[in-house]
Amino acid sequence: MDLFSTFFNIPVLMQSLPQLMNGLLVTIGIGATSIIAGLIGGLFLAVLRLYAGPVVTGLVRAYIDVFRSIPLLVLLIIVYYALPFVGIRLSPFFSAVTALTLVSAAYTAEIFRAGIEAIPKGQFEASAALGLSNRYIMTDIILPQAIRIVIPPLTNNCINVLKDTALASVVAMPDLLKQATQAQALSANPTPLIGAAVIYLILLLPMVRYVAHLEKRFSRGRS
């Protein structure tokens, strides 16, 4: 049995491809849901962290620190296997989305905070002096400028979330990796795993290139 027919077995690949595509849809579903929920949660946390009173700020900081420290796999297993003991029973999909969102929100909050803090004080002062309310200062003046700054790190975070969706296979979620391992067992051939790896690359490499491109463009703009 030569290397090619072991790892790049075309008939096996064609056979497993529909299964892999289903897995890809699940992966994208988990990833997109977690990314969007994480963005909303992170923005909310960042604003609280910057402008709420000292108690709330302290709580938010504790949240951010804890969820940036805990390994995602540990969190996912706690959500899926431990929470049922206190009556919280989440489906594999929502377990994965919950764990990914909790962590993504913590990272996103730090990204947004850095972005908001990078806006010159004069922008806050000029908008306050015009009588704009805090809400409009944020939505009209600060966030539109901060978005430019945070797009590269946010895209990086999206890449991480999409990669981490593979952990959902641990809680029996039929995502891309899980489908690939099942197809591999069925066909007694590792080609589906290689296929899954290639699909991950096709999904993520353009995003990695995009971040590199953005970072280069922004650093050039700044000099």
């Binding site: 010159p120 004069g122 922008q123 002062e125 000029a126 908008s127 306050a128 002096a129 015009l130 009588g131 704009l132 309310s133 409009y136 009209d140 003046i141 539109p144 400028q145 430019r148």
Partner: protein, 246 residues
């Protein structure tokens, strides 16, 4: 003498141990053009930044604008709607066109319609000589042009008071004149102006009253000729000597 529009009593401001303002008392009349001069660190910028509460001040201090107390809360929104400010570094919104910069506050704060706000903005840009550049972004304009847009932006709220915080200090020398010309025209319109400046020529020509500050206190106040031609205080004389005779 008209009733004062701005009343400042016992205004104190400290940064830790450092006392930036030592209990300032000052009334500013409706329509008055007041120039505040003095050395760097004398507290003149801090003083005008307290008037719209960009700088919070110590308890026991009191400022009112048109009878409205300057303090955090709903009163402050009202004060800020009546008090426009022009900054040393322009602080235009870089992600908006010049026109949008001027339109924004009337729409958001005065709830004006887009069409009315645009008409007002174009009129004001015309007045400050920037109408051709209305659709450009701030970064495409020279410093002097940006500052004139900033003045139009402040005027768009039709404020009772305009605060100028060293409006020409960040400008290249050849652009100072165009900004001062706009300010001179404004001084004739009856709007109350408080101008922190190093432009002694402007202060002498345009001010109704000149205030000399040093060390966080008002050392001397009077008409331009009283301050510039016959200063009573030693510190005023030394300062004027340093800035004028060179």
């Amino acid at each position: 003498m008209k009733a004062p529009l701005i009343k400042i009593s016992n205004l104190r401001k400290t940064y830790g141990q450092f006392v930036a303002l030592h209990g300032i008392n000052l009334d500013i009349a409706q329509g008055e053009v007041l120039c505040v001069v003095g050395p760097s660190g004398s507290g003149k910028s801090t003083l005008i930044r307290c008037i719209n509460h960009l700088e919070p001040f110590e308890a026991g201090s009191e400022i009112t604008v048109d009878g409205i107390p300057v303090r955090p809360g709903p009163d402050l929104d009202q004060v800020r709607a009546e008090v426009g400010m022009v900054f040393q570094s322009f602080n235009l919104f870089p992600h908006m066109t010049v026109l949008r910069n001027v339109m924004l506050a009337p729409i958001r704060v005065r709830k004006m319609s887009e069409a009315d706000a645009e008409k007002r903005a174009r009129d004001l840009l015309e007045r400050v000589g920037i109408s051709v550049q209305a659709d450009k972004y701030p970064a495409q304009l020279s410093g002097g042009q940006q500052q004139r847009v900033a003045i139009a932006r402040a005027l768009a709220m039709e404020p009772r008071v305009l605060l100028f915080d060293e409006p020409t200090s960040a400008l290249d020398p050849e652009m100072v004149g165009e900004v001062l010309d706009v300010m001179k025209k404004l001084a004739g319109t009856g709007v109350t102006m408080v101008v922190v400046t190093h432009e002694m020529g402007f202060a002498r020509q345009v001010a109704d009253r000149v205030l000399f500050m040093d060390g966080g206190a008002i050392i001397e106040a009077g008409t331009p000729s009283e301050i510039f031609d016959a200063p009573k205080e030693e510190r005023t004389r030394n300062f004027l000597h340093a800035v004028l005779d060179h």
